[in-house]
Symmetry: C2
Subunit: 119 residues, 2 copies
């Protein structure tokens, strides 16, 4: 599959879509635009962010926020509180263990089940 | 980290370099040029290929070979015999379980240990 082409099929923001599995890990695509992702963490799961297009503000608790741009990769380690946002649309690849919940134990308007992400 | 920048530090071909960990999974960068990768499989591990730059010929046993280009992603499922090659230099991200051996149970001139890949 071609990743830019897969992104062209995604219309919603904040709605990760599973595009593949590598053993216990899901490969997901997501479009971020705005500030709807709540502060959250994944107790047992690391989470990889890779920027395909656009820019993403990464906020890590007790650290200085930083901007990620196309081609940048960052791994939020398990249990670390974090939040991402973007003024303009940002296309990202997410890689995380299958057990990871979208917004950790926090539920808000953007929270989606893994069933929805697999559609 | 910036992926194109990380690739600029890699001089050797066929020598995967671990750049991150997502739970039980390694994220690796590799440069492919030539036909030195032997036919092999990973008994228990899926292997993700994502093309950052260049083109890669993917050969899967009993299937028609196909070319992968920049932005293409393909997951070779566990135990499937495969081989990759490239006429010109090709930069790829590999994602696979930590237990995966570079060239499966086949050892040849390009086989490297995970210790070398972690350097």
């Amino acid at each position: 599959m071609n990743i830019p082409n897969e992104f062209s099929k995604i219309k919603e923001h904040f709605s990760p879509k599973v595009i593949g599995e590598v053993n216990d890990t899901y490969i997901k695509l997501a479009k971020i635009k705005g500030e709807k992702v709540p502060w959250h963490n994944h107790k047992n799961e690391d989470e990889l962010f890779y920027i395909i297009d656009g820019s993403l503000l990464m906020e890590i608790e007790n650290e200085k926020p930083f901007m990620m741009h196309k081609g940048d990769l960052y791994i939020v380690k398990k249990s670390i509180n974090h939040r991402v946002s973007s003024q303009e649309e940002c296309c990202i690849i997410l890689i995380e263990n299958k057990t990871a919940l979208h917004t950790g134990t926090v539920h808000n308007e953007i929270t989606t089940s893994i069933t929805a992400q697999l559609r």
